[in-house]
């Protein structure tokens, strides 16, 4: 672990240097991603000058969902971006073999190689919107809430991690899986708005269980905002008690991480079997 962080630090310092050197590129990237967020925010803003609620949620509540989804997405974007290269290129051009020649775990190696600073734009805007909404809604912020936020954050990140890893692992069979990764990832756009507005059972269940991006932002924030009955109604099944929601989320996220790892292992085994 010490080795991991020492190398991570070395890569990081390099990238900070590059960042300073190519300030303009960085700035353009961050601004571009921020514009995207401002756009989504603006739609809500304009619409809410006329109406009080969308799908039963107020403006501030919508901001809470949106803000939190961007916080999780931003952090994932920052630390776990290099895996895209595996899906798009590393297998195809053969540079993946370098990971196999190193005395360190492959996934560790992939992660520490790159920090994507563009994600800080998403994280910052997301956090500001989230914090603003949290305060406006008068939600408490004690150790219990902070603890739960941390749990939810970890669950969300784990889910992204599992999905991206599994999608990237497909490249072991198909040489390149960038497109698949992109689709799987793009589905997370649904998390910007509360699940209730998707008035279609299939889509809802898809976002809860198949590619459970609803678990990233909707479920945790609704957990703070609604009681058990309202939560059950929104999710379409009886959650019994609010305690079970984070437990279920944790299990689901763990299952996805496990799935990602297993698929990656099997794929790797195939890769070292065929060398292509």
């Amino acid at each position: 672990m010490r080795r991991f962080f020492s190398i991570y630090a070395a890569f990081l310092s390099q990238q900070v240097k590059a960042l300073v050197e190519y300030k303009l590129d960085f700035l353009i990237g961050v601004i571009a991603l921020s514009i995207q967020q401002i756009g989504s925010f603006l739609v809500l803003f304009a619409v809410f000058t006329q109406i009080k609620a969308v799908g039963g949620w107020s403006f501030d509540e919508m901001l809470l969902f949106y803000g939190w989804s961007q916080v999780v997405r931003g952090i994932d974007h920052i630390y776990n971006d290099n895996i895209w290269l595996v899906g798009w290129w590393r297998i195809r051009d053969g540079s993946f073999t370098h990971y196999l020649l190193r005395p360190i775990g492959i996934i560790q190696h992939i992660i520490m190689e790159r920090v994507q600073f563009d994600g800080f734009g998403e994280l910052l805007v997301g956090f500001l919107l989230f914090a603003y909404a949290w305060l406006r809604l008068g939600l408490a912020l004690g150790p219990a809430e902070l603890g739960m936020l941390l749990v939810f954050l970890v669950c969300g990140l784990a889910l992204y991690f599992g999905i991206k890893l599994a999608a990237a692992a497909v490249a072991f069979w198909t040489v390149s899986s960038g497109e698949l990764m992109q689709v799987a990832y793009e589905v997370n756009s649904f998390t910007k708005y509360p699940l209730d507005i998707y008035k279609n059972v299939w889509l809802k269940n898809f976002l809860l269980f198949v590619l459970p991006f609803a678990v990233v932002s909707y479920v945790p924030m609704a957990w703070f905002l609604r009681d058990t009955a309202a939560l059950s109604a929104a999710l379409g099944f009886d959650v019994v008690s609010k305690t079970w929601v984070p437990v279920g989320m944790a299990l689901l996220s763990a299952a996805f991480v496990g799935f990602g790892f297993v698929l990656f292992r099997i794929g790797l085994r195939r890769y070292t079997g065929t060398g292509t």
Partner: protein
């Protein structure tokens, strides 16, 4: 240090069919063509050896190296490195081997050489003192200083190879694998790399395992030569063994004072002659024919200014082996 026993690697590729309908067929058919890339290879390599591993393209060289480095697992047979199955101990073995692929860099494209090496130092947990020592040596022998702070993407091929070579040796590996390390390099860089490899082998006792198409590499570096052909071992021995076995043909060339007249006659059986106005070359098997006799015969017939007796070089021999395969 490296033990191969009946090592075999087969690749299965789905049978391809032509055209659009064929593409569809390919997708669903279970037919495969099996290509045996490495076929029942058995070898034993001791510490400190320097092996030249040669063969035509597609003979199975890269596949063998990949199995030895643990990137590829064998279909059958054993590939033991440091006493353990290479692919099962990949991560552990990685600490003790260095690998240079001539075609591909292991350095990070956007980082300066200095930083790439610094990161590798941490990856392999090389103590700082040892790292500094090694670095000083590389800088001297490979002249890294002139591009030490340049990002890898801006290096010329020769510079990149020197940097890659240094990168593969930082952690004092016990075995160094080199897959065509001199490909595309100019003569000066080639020479420098060869010197460095020899030095590593001699002064550090690092085992060298080298594939190349450049026979100059082999002649200068390798104490032992292994020829692989169609996945099978075709030869294993020293340079002299190789000469004895394949290099039976000796050559005498004469510089002539003036063009000769009628073709030479009275040469013993098995001698071939090739003549141009100012040069005559005789080829003959080493056994049974004495050079002195031949020279005496030529001097009678021609005005000889100068002559040279040549044993075949490795390049000639390997060319011969390849052509026979």
């Amino acid at each position: 240090m490296i033990e191969l026993e009946h090592l075999t690697k087969e690749f299965r590729t789905p049978k391809k069919h032509e055209g659009l309908g064929g593409a569809f067929k390919t997708l669903f058919s279970r037919e495969y063509t099996v290509k045996r890339a490495v076929d029942d290879l058995s070898l034993s390599i001791a510490g400190g050896e320097s092996i030249g591993f040669i063969g035509v393209n597609g003979a199975g060289k890269s596949t063998t190296i990949k199995m030895m480095t643990g990137i590829l697992h064998p279909t059958s047979g054993q590939c033991r490195v440091f006493g353990a199955e290479a692919h099962k101990n990949r991560q552990k073995n990685a600490q003790n081997i260095g690998v240079v692929f001539g075609q591909r860099t292991q350095l990070w494209w956007d980082l300066p050489v200095s930083e790439s090496l610094g990161i590798l130092r941490r990856l392999y947990q090389v103590p700082q003192a040892r790292f500094d020592e090694n670095l000083a040596w590389f800088k001297k022998i490979l002249e890294l200083d002139e591009f030490y702070l340049t990002p890898v993407r801006n290096l010329s091929l020769g510079q990149r190879m020197r940097a890659d070579f240094a990168a593969s040796l930082l952690h004092d590996p016990k075995i160094l694998f080199l897959d065509e390390p001199t490909i595309g390099l100019d003569l000066v860089v080639k020479e420098r790399l060869r010197e460095a490899i020899k030095d590593v082998n001699k002064n550090r006792g690092t085992t060298i395992f080298l594939t190349t198409h450049d026979l100059g590499d082999i002649e200068q570096i390798c104490g032992r030569i292994i020829v692989i052909d169609d996945g099978k071992q075709a030869f294993d021995g020293s340079q002299n063994d190789l000469r004895d076995r394949y290099g039976r043909i000796r050559r005498i060339s004469f510089d002539l004072g003036r063009p000769g007249g009628a073709p030479l006659t009275g040469l013993p059986e098995g001698v071939t002659a090739e003549e141009t106005p100012d040069r005559l070359v005789l080829r003959f098997p080493r056994e049974g024919i004495r050079s002195g006799d031949l020279i005496a015969r030529v001097v009678q017939e021609r005005e000889v200014k100068d002559l040279a007796i040549e044993d075949p070089d490795i390049a000639d021999i390997v060319k011969e082996i390849y052509q026979h395969s």
